[in-house]
């Protein structure tokens, strides 16, 4: 089932990517080509096959609930676009 233009725009909105009308049309064609490739997989019978969510079927490791990190926020915030008083600045969201 090919994607229509409205779907492409909706996906772009969900992904928080601004997309122009012209870009959406071009993207629509390319995505439909790619989904054409992906469709091959959907014809295969996978009844009873457990999904493989990771490269190895291992349990994630547990660790002690201990403090392992020191406070380095000035260092890590030094690469942020806008910081003030230890806080990240973004456009106002609450009036």
């Amino acid at each position: 089932m090919p994607l229509d233009l409205e779907q492409v725009k909706r996906i772009a909105h969900l992904a928080r990517i601004e997309i122009s009308q012209a870009e959406a049309a071009q993207t629509q064609d390319q995505l439909n080509d790619i989904f054409g490739l992906i469709e091959r997989m959907r014809a295969v019978d996978t009844e009873g096959i457990a999904p493989m969510s990771h490269a190895q079927d291992l349990m994630l490791r547990l660790r002690e609930d201990a403090v392992t990190e020191s406070d380095q926020h000035p260092l890590f915030q030094s690469v942020a676009p806008q910081v003030e008083g230890g806080l990240y600045l973004v456009p106002k969201v609450i009036e």
Binding site: M41, P51, R63
Partner: protein, 494 residues
């Protein structure tokens, strides 16, 4: 000096026949002279590199050196490197100076290796030709009108053009092996979980694995000795005893003689990797390599990987799904690019991401967002995960009959710059033989084995069972002792 193996360089440094500062200067001078055209490096900082080389020389003088102490290594720009620009090939991170070191960078630092610079790559490692980089395409040193492969195209080019003795890289669907093949060098993607992903900028976390690139299997084994090892900071890093990956290099296969060192080795040859889509020049070179292995004593076993044709479709659901989640962190708030003008918070996110990401990255985020969205998750994402298990099971069956699987790394030799940029599906199919190992989590490597059309290199793909890296490297090393493909270097770079 630029054709010396890491073992030879290490011995020369230890014997003080050359200092690390001198060696580093040789490579910096080559980069200065050749990088303008090849575009293999995004960042070079001679001051920092030479300071590290000076420290390595002091360490050697104290007699406290390790095998890679003083050897310059180029790092793919996906590895966070403290105090160095770490761009991941993207405008999004064009101003990002990492505040910390990736585990791999830390390991090389502890070994006393010198950071030679940060190499170009497809943006966020998404590409098979190094053409999606914000910093422009890397050229193939064998013919500059051709791509070097990707995503680790800068690292591959740097090693092939002798701009670096060795390099680090990463592989999500073939990003170490395919560029290694297309540039005539040796590259290894280890078993998933062997090399820590800490500080390695995430693309598809269940597939991403770091690994080395070098001129030979022996060099790659020495590099993997440094890169591999448990790291508690990566939840998927495997808690295993450390290994010496060079241990089997000079040993014949069990029960074999020195004259026929691979006597008893069973090479599985999957019929699915020799069918439609494989170009005849590559097929001929692979056939000759297999014949060479037979001369060394190995035996061919016909095998089947019946679901391998489904690997590209399954991969292009799973990898974009994971990427769309991983790349949601780039929102213009904590690091990297922020759009200069916006109306409100939502507009800031949308404009930042629209301007900061290139076309291929956006395409993959959109695919991933769609396959994870309400109503499509089962049909695409869960389905792909079930297919992934079928592909992994194919290898379980195959390894009952053989010790290693061999075939072509890539269906063609390097293609011309621009040849596939407007057709994503054709580009994706260049990884058709490499993706299955990522989906299964198996180790895979590419070894140079001849030349095809336009005198461009061909790579032999070797896939081994889980944790069989040392044996795979030995298999490749015996082949490289009997052949000289890995010693060939592009004209005009020497």
């Amino acid at each position: 000096m630029i054709n010396a193996s890491l073992k030879e360089l290490s011995a020369a440094l230890a014997a003080k026949n050359i200092s690390s500062v001198e060696l580093t200067r040789i490579y910096l001078e080559r980069i200065e002279r050749l990088n303008g055209e090849l575009n293999a490096f995004i960042t070079v900082d001679p001051g920092k590199s030479l300071a590290l080389a000076g420290q390595a020389d002091a360490r050697i003088a104290r007699g406290e050196h390790a095998p890679l102490t003083g050897i310059p290594v180029a790092h793919k720009d996906i590895y966070c490197t403290k105090g160095w620009l770490t761009t991941c090939g993207s405008r999004m991170l064009a101003n990002f100076e990492s505040p910390y070191d990736a585990h791999v960078i830390g390991r090389f630092g502890a070994a006393g290796a010198v950071i030679l610079g940060k190499t170009n790559m497809d943006e966020f490692a998404m590409g098979s030709s190094n053409e999606t980089s914000f910093y422009g395409p890397v050229k193939n040193p064998w013919d500059r009108a051709f791509v070097p492969g990707g995503s680790s195209g800068g690292s591959a080019c740097a090693v092939a053009a002798r701009l670096a003795p060795a390099a680090t890289a990463t592989d999500t669907g073939g990003s170490i092996r395919q560029p290694a093949a297309l540039t005539g060098i040796t590259g290894l993607k280890p078993t998933y979980g062997v090399v820590s992903r800490y500080g390695m900028i995430a693309f598809a976390s269940s597939l991403d694995q770091g690994g080395p690139m070098g001129k030979s299997a022996e060099d790659v084994a020495m590099l993997l000795d440094v890169m591999a090892g448990f790291d508690p900071r990566d939840s998927t890093s495997l808690e295993r005893e450390g290994e010496d990956y060079t241990r089997d290099l000079d040993r014949p296969w069990e029960g074999a003689s020195a004259g026929r060192p691979l006597q008893g080795l069973r090479i599985g040859v999957p019929k699915e990797h020799f069918g439609e889509g494989l170009s005849s020049d590559v097929g001929r070179a692979i056939e000759a390599a297999l014949a060479q292995f037979e001369e060394l004593g190995a035996k061919r076993v016909a095998i089947s990987l019946p679901n391998s044709g489904l690997s590209v479709p399954a991969y292009y659901v799973i990898a974009p799904a994971e990427a769309s989640s991983n790349l949601s962190r780039f929102d213009g708030v904590r690091y990297g690019y922020r759009a200069p003008e916006y109306r409100d918070l939502l507009d800031m996110y949308c404009k930042t991401r629209s301007q900061g990401f290139g076309a291929e990255v956006k395409r993959r985020i959109l695919i991933g967002t769609y396959v994870l969205s309400h109503g499509y998750y089962d049909a695409y994402y869960l389905k792909a995960q079930r297919v992934r298990r079928l592909i992994a099971q194919d290898f379980v069956e195959a390894f009952k009959k053989c010790d290693v699987v061999m075939g072509p790394t890539s269906p063609t030799v390097a293609f011309r710059i621009g040849a596939k940029t407007s057709d994503p599906v054709q580009m994706y199919l260049s990884d058709i033989y490499t993706i299955p190992a990522n989906l299964a989590g198996l180790p895979g490597m590419s070894v140079p084995c001849g030349f095809g059309e336009n005198e461009l290199p061909v790579g032999l793909h070797i896939v081994g069972n889980y944790f069989s890296e040392a044996r795979m490297l030995a298999v490749a090393h015996h082949y490289q002792r009997a052949t000289d493909w890995h010693r060939r270097a592009p004209a005009g770079v020497l």
